[in-house]
Symmetry: C2
Subunit: 256 residues, 2 copies
């Protein structure tokens, strides 16, 4: 059974290496990952340019490809061209930095797992809540257990797991919570500066806004829990469909 692994921090990322080692005996591990960091690329795909790969060696992987594309490109290329058969599981991570709340929609890590789900393959994205993790042991163990359970039990069609792990020693993690995606988000600010030639540039920065919510991914993580959220890709605001339908009668068409 093939396990496909990708990420958005790139092929050199320690989190990727830790994930590969954590599951290397659960299947034949194929790694298809970006050749450089692709954080915050969201669900971008490369359609206007060619993409290429180079072979790479990683401890614990059967084969490894470094691709000059996004995480979603990597999984699409793997499924269409590189793998000899469909994988039993797609894993993405271990990401440096949590992916909860609104951040999920900007996450390249989640997008790689989403590509798995779109193609009918059980998938999970794993992130650790630190931009400079000192070790990945707890997140690696959680990843392994996630892989075992998902392979044994499957997931509903079009569903993937978004797993966020606190940056704590394993023995200090409080427990596991299955929670909804919250509304936590960054408030962007832009540094405005002048370059060497006198031209203005902006550079995106930001800070987390306080969380005014309960029972969400962001809150569980803050409280020391591993947060697991089942996600899907139907963005419809179902509860609002009916009310909006009443508007449609006022939507005079151009001809009228």
């Amino acid at each position: 059974m093939i396990i496909l692994i990708s990420n958005d921090d790139g092929i050199q990322s320690e989190g990727l290496h830790a994930l590969v080692r954590a599951v290397s005996d659960l299947g034949q591990v194929w790694v298809v990952a970006p050749d450089r960091e692709q954080s915050a690329v969201g669900h971008s795909i490369t359609i206007s340019e060619p993409i290429r790969y180079v072979d790479f060696e990683l401890d614990g992987a059967f084969r490894t490809f470094a691709v000059n594309g996004s995480p979603a490109d990597c999984v699409k290329l793997a499924l269409s061209e590189l793998l000899p058969e469909a994988p039993a599981l797609v894993l993405s991570g271990i990401n440096r930095g949590e992916n909860t709340g609104i951040s999920v929609i900007y996450s390249g890590t989640v997008s790689a797992a989403t590509e798995g789900a779109i193609n009918g393959i059980p998938a999970a994205a794993i992130s650790v809540d630190s931009f400079s993790p000192t070790n990945y042991d707890a997140a690696a163990a959680v990843s392994r257990r996630t892989a075992e359970l998902v392979m044994a039990r499957g997931l509903p069609e079009g569903t993937l797991l978004n797993v966020n792990v606190p940056e704590l020693p394993a023995e200090e993690i409080v427990g596991i919570k299955v929670v909804r995606q919250g509304r936590g988000r960054f408030k962007e600010t832009f540094l405005k500066r002048t370059d060497q030639r006198g031209r203005i540039y902006y550079w995106m920065d930001g800070h987390k806004l306080p969380l005014d919510e309960t029972d969400t991914d962001g809150i569980a993580l803050l409280q020391g829990y591993v947060a697991i959220t089942p996600i899907q890709f139907d963005l419809t605001h179902h509860a609002y469909l009916e009310e909006l339908s009443e508007w449609a009668t006022d939507f005079t068409l151009p001809r009228e």
Copy 2:
């Protein structure tokens, strides 16, 4: 009242110009759009590099900025730095090519409108179902009516409208339907070729898979209707939360 307009086809796009003209008397129109095509960038944001703008002139716009970033970058920069006050409405489009079904998650057009909704501003994305539209008259009229209705009635918090318009003369459009996002998607294929130096490259291509569904955005559009879908950005698979919670008891933590 300010109307902020962006897109993903770039500042030179005829669809953008048609949208600006269509709403220019409904408010003070500010355009902040990518300086080149950014299709299929999904919800990417630029955090590792600076971004800049140049001033531009567009018929019907009060001010226009061409930004070397993604659609989401454009809206973030506009809201944080460029606009004198929060806009009453964010519009994105008119996109060349429909954004229905799974394509919504790859859409830069939708991501610009989503940035509006994240920031509490009513928003709509408008696309026309052709890669080479012969005219934008019907889509422009639909855009104008959408803008009027959304400004008059508002939208629930965190909600935007995804509007897809058939490429038909206005008088041939069958009507308006409020519908859910479907599962329509492209099946990717990759052209595999050898370059001038003998190295292999891949180039993403694809074709639409047949739609096996009813009452969706993709179906309504095919039937000649304007398809309007209210979308939001909570990706939680709510119906599956409870069942997955039962798993959590089997999720032995690393320490155990």
